[in-house]
Amino acid sequence: MTEAWILVYDQEAGTALTRSARALADRVVAVSLGAGALATADLTLTVDVAPGTLVEAYARPVAALLAERGATLVLAGADVRGRLLAGQVAAHLGVSPVDVAGVVQASPLVVTHPAYGGVAVVTEEVTAPVAVLVVAAGAPGPAATPPVSGSSAVEASALEPEPGLVLVETRAKSGEQVNLASATRVVGVGRGFGAEADLDLARAVAAKLGAELACSRPIAEGVGWMPAERYVGVSGATIAPDLYLAVGISGQVQHLVGVRGAKVVVAINKDKNAPIFAHADLGVVGDLYEVLPALVAAL
């Protein structure tokens, strides 16, 4: 029987990670750092996290625990904390963490991840005795798989954090919360917009369609018209909505890699030769400044 270990510090993310783990193994054991027992796991080792301590301070003792229990397959989420935890646990186990955007097969384990800004997909087989995977949301397999409940046994595990980092405070993020990954319709904006105020044209269409607004990298990291959470692309969000409407986006691979999972792609661009049209189900050649207001009127 194969066994997967998951590193958890949040109930919701932990449940999603169990789902990924179940696609690779029959039995799932969670190491829960301050997040309590996980109902979807077969066994949870609960670790109390002292106040003012980061979950990552447990990387070394968690690695020691995994080694002692003979873990050969370990999964962490591809969020900021998951990456640090996985990287450090892997290093302490003497292996490299493996970035996983997709799983080709479970045994032997073959995974994929993008490279060169989305120009390429690397397929690789994990050959090390221990696999520490950093798993993107929804990989492997469809995110809609019904959650399988485990036997949810619980065992308390006393681990000592490493001293050093001191968590002074945690603040809520300023500004709005965005979850593009769960949006069913998304309108993406790019460099075709000449001024920040013009984005209202796209907002009006998004409002009509009940869509979330997203953008390409230059809009978020170049001119800063939108927060980084709305940036879709290789180093931003990866989305899989039912509809992606790209407006004024030329279609660089770096952006396209983030919307590959969209069911339907529609593009509006004034350049007939824009690469986006080769990746769209429906392409509209036209000036967004004329087409968007007309579209709002027609919807």
């Binding site: 980061l54 290093a91 963490p97 970035d99 397929t123 994990v126 050959t127 980084a228 000036d287 027609a298």
Partner: protein, 249 residues
Amino acid sequence: MRIVACIKAAPEDQDIHVAPDRTLDLSRAAWKVGAYDLNAVEAGRRLVDEVGGELVGLSMGGEALAATKLRKDVLSRGLDRLVVVAGDPAGDALQTATALAAAVNEIGDVDLVLLGAGSADRYAQQVGTVLGALLGRPTLNAVDHLEVQRDHVRVERLLEDGVQVVDVPLPAVLAVTSGINTPRIAGMKDILAAGKKPVLEVTPPVGAPAATTRTVSVLAPEQKDRGRVLVEGTATEVAQQLAQFLKAL
């Protein structure tokens, strides 16, 4: 304070040619320092300007690192000197971090190691996390703001749903976000000065760790079959067609 900024040269992805069989031709791609690495260089420069000390660039890689143009480019962005370690740029995070850790120890008395969010080629964002563990130093990623306060650095770390304020004792390893600063654009004076800055080549450590994975293939992603219907006409006409299409979804 002595700060090391880690940088990686990678082929410019705009220049990568994709053949119909999805194989890649990298031969015409120019090698450049990753855009995110420049955030680490800039953050290091600002700290050194503020508290004094030295900013050392550190890079592991192959032939590309021998190019004068690339060396001058990165030196012109604010480094005081550059240390280069020979190694395989396609190595995994553990292999890369092992070489960087040996170089950091050889440079000596390093108070802070900075890295960018991720490399331009793999963007696995893992070299910093592994490097910190190998060096046995406090380590954080996603650092969006940092400030030196006597013997420690106070950082703001950008999580998906919040911001952590963390005190990090020195020496430490920190990976910064792409939003922490806007890297400077080198002027003619900086480029001329860069040619005179020292570059040191250090020998890689013996006995590199075994690779964690075996590469099966590196190919362009499979094209999803899209409708590729193009409509043209007046704004009103195309908007009507588009609205009809969208309503039918």
